[in-house]
Amino acid sequence: MGIITILWEKWVEFRRDFYKITLAAMIAPLMYLVVFGMGIQTISHGEPYLNFLIPGVVSLTTMNGSFNAIAQNLNVQRLYEKAFDQVMISPTPLWQFIAGQIIGGSLRGFYAGGVILILTIPIDTGLIFNGWSFLIMFLNGAVFSAIGVVVSFLAKNHADVPRFSNYIIMPMAYLCNTFFSTEKLPGILGKFVSALPLSQTSHMIRSISAGEGFQMTGIAVLGAYLIVFTAIASWFIYKKKNL
């Protein structure tokens, strides 16, 4: 099956660049945790700020891990290496290629988030991470992998991917319920940011980690984002005349 082929390709890449991928996934989130959580020690909602911060950092790490694994890589394959041409030519159904990219990217995001979780084990926070947290991390990764596929097709040159990352991914990393609650954002901006996938992810993971339940609507929202971006990626790959 084509999905397995793409996952195999991702595995070859992961195995070869294991140390680079792992280090890259760790550096920024660790800095956030050290600077904001340990350096500037504050209390949020009556709890150490670190308890608020960890779920947010895990969410944004998952997002970054997934998006970066797909967008830049696929863009290089399409515009520079032209390796993507061989996929287009091959009989592998293109929807399976997209699904493979999304699952592969999601696993990379999941791995990056997992590394951060492991690193926070020595910190005695009492936060809870269970099967639901992992499912939400995976789903968040899937959404941003799908966005990564779309961006890699939209980008007309290699500089476009970091540009998109600067304009969209980076603001989300800071604003979407990661370092502070979206409730602090005024009016319509707050509502808009709350509806973004990373806000939903952070909110759900934080609720679970605090031992509270979470609303399934968050999962439905992530599912809707996933469907929309997968549909756009499929349109590109099947219908765009000059890909």
Partner: protein, 280 residues
């Protein structure tokens, strides 16, 4: 059989391929020739579904080719003009990736990989990443990759570009052998000698249009089988004759330096390019 009907591809206001009607029979070795920008690579891209046509259609064995026809795509292998490979994969990985994309079993991939890398004298470099290969080795690897899947149709876009003379001859022998096994081959090349040696029919393209389809010998015959090259100063002027006697008679009347030889497909191409294949 490959058939294109009214195949047209435009980019904004530029028509790269214009109403192309082409029929290539099963087992034929067909050459697509033309100056730079004639639309040869765009045609290959359309036939491999990398680009979708603006108008017209492509039929493979009578069935319409689209991106959503894995059964038809299974029959086709393409060697693109550019090196289309993951730079960070080694040869074994490149071959395995290709085999997996074509749903081959791992056992079959392994067997064919050994066979093809051995045949192309690449076996000792199998663990070397693409980034570290020479241009010629990359080309050979692309050939191995294309043949791995045992295609029925092989689309070759400048397959010997960047190869040394020996490798090129080896490639010609290989292509002849493959064509002998009823493999349909469509070749674009800038080497006229290559087209003349390999192709049973060639098409001349210019400005996206098909100018003429014929056999290399018929094209040469239309110009004249014998050529007298007349050298005067910096310029070489060629004159074409249908018989050797006519050519010798002309040659004996010349006072300056001149030579007699057989006409080649390159002469035909140069003459056509000079007359009406030049960009307008």
């Amino acid at each position: 059989m490959i058939e294109t009907k009214n195949l047209t591809k435009t980019f904004d206001n530029f028509t790269a391929v214009d109403s192309l009607d082409l029929k290539i029979e099963t087992g034929e070795f067909f050459g697509l020739l033309g100056p730079n920008g004639a639309g040869k690579t765009t045609t290959i891209s359309l036939l491999s579904t990398l680009l979708l046509p603006t108008k017209g259609e492509i039929l493979i064995d009578g069935q319409k080719l689209t991106r959503n026809r894995p059964d038809l795509k299974r029959k086709i292998s393409v060697i693109t003009q550019e090196y289309s490979m993951r730079q960070d994969m080694n040869m074994d990985e490149i071959m395995e990736y290709q085999g997996r994309l074509y749903f081959m079993s791992r056992k079959e991939i392994k067997r064919r990989t050994e066979e093809l890398l051995e045949f192309c004298d690449l076996i000792k470099f199998r663990k070397r990443t693409v980034r570290k290969l020479s241009g010629g080795m990359k080309r050979k690897l692309m050939v191995c990759r294309a043949l791995l899947t045992d295609p029925e149709i092989l689309l070759l876009d400048e397959p010997t570009a960047g190869m040394d003379a020996l490798s090129r001859r080896q490639m010609w022998n290989l292509l002849r052998k493959l064509n002998g096994k009823n493999l349909t081959i469509l070749l674009t090349t800038h080497y006229m000698e290559e087209a003349q040696n390999l192709c049973s029919r060639v098409a001349l393209m210019d400005h996206g249009r098909l100018e003429e389809v014929s056999t290399p010998s018929a094209l040469i015959n239309s110009l004249g089988n014998y050529t007298v090259d007349e050298f005067s100063g910096d310029e070489t002027k060629s004159h074409y004759f249908h018989t050797r006697e006519e050519a010798i008679a002309y040659l004996s009347g010349l006072s300056g330096q001149a030579s007699l030889r057989e006409t080649t497909l390159e002469d035909v191409f140069v003459e056509r390019a000079g007359r009406h294949l030049m960009p307008s």
